[in-house]
Subunit: 146 residues, 3 copies
């Protein structure tokens, strides 16, 4: 059994999803884990993780508009220290995930055909977001320990 | 420490929850893990996982109607390649989970008295949904490695 | 590799968030795990987990009001066996999490600077809530097995 943990920094360019699947795949490849689990954790409360369809970009546009409707900018929010997009960002992060798990099979992320992992930036301004990628499982026979 | 991974196919009969707790219990029993963690992952973005009350079926009916209100069928969605239920299904999958974790204690899923794990189908038509069930932990003394 | 599992009982005083970060930290410290993963699971369907900002309490007040708007008390709910706050509590638990994962690095929860883990009580009356805290990973060299 082996554990491999890595920090991944993701620059964001304002509101919207950033596909981080390849970055996570890179960590899994480095880990040498063939059968196991990959958990991705975002160290922020104004951005979130979501696994969604990667085929038609209209899906992501629709989701962005819909999240903005469920948690809109509004003078009703009490907390607005960093502007009108501050509190809606926290609320949208509650609707999505702080961590996502993806099983590893045959050395690959066991995503469905149309699934990708997105880091969703909810603030207006570009940020640098930190992910912790944690991989645990059995390494391939050729690579060593079990 | 042992890892056991299995794929479980779940047929759905149109919109609504399917209790998959027994299927997952079967994988845990096969794994031989006595103290550990079970993670269930759904390989689709138009169905979701949710742990909810299994006592009164009215809870599930209420949740179905409420999810449909938060993410309704509407001409406002841009993405409608597969019909009016396409995009609401993606949105409802965001509100629920792509993966759920359930600890294993004494060889059993450590669910609360009223908890069950549901796969929620969000598309109108029946589907065949794939779950990956990942179990990791310590096997019972009689069964082998630690 | 070691596994440590503990049950944590959390008294709640009616609707609102309870910061359980220190309780979880205590379990991690006892486990002796230095590099690993901590998963917290709530054994109820009318309370939920959420990782959110711990700096300004107004964030939590805003989130409470917003969750109450998305899943309000209403005569439209079919299930009301335990009163008008029964079904909204289930719905709010769907919007938040039954389990949360937090990586462990250098023997510490790898939370971001402003992150804390909250157990959110959604029922009007105080409850006693059960959490299962599951820790798995590599122990420090001085402490033993790898």
């Amino acid at each position: 059994m082996r554990i491999h943990q890595d920090k991944v920094e993701v620059p964001t360019g304002g509101p919207g999803p950033v596909d981080v699947t390849e970055r996570v795949r890179g960590v899994v490849a480095t880990s040498g884990v063939v059968t196991g689990m990959c958990t991705v954790f975002v160290q922020h409360t104004s951005a979130g993780l979501v696994i969604q369809e990667n085929a038609d970009p209209a899906v992501l546009r629709d989701l962005g508009r819909w999240l903005a409707k469920l948690a809109p900018e509004s003078p009703e929010w009490e907390h607005d220290d960093e502007g009108p997009d501050d509190m809606p960002a926290h609320a949208r992060s509650v609707l999505t995930r702080t961590s996502e798990n993806i099983p590893i099979r045959d050395g690959e992320l066991a995503l469905g055909v149309w699934q990708a992992l997105y880091l969703w930036e909810y603030r207006r301004r570009p940020h640098r977001r930190s992910l912790v990628v944690h991989v645990v499982g059995l390494a391939s026979p050729g690579l060593g320990e079990h």
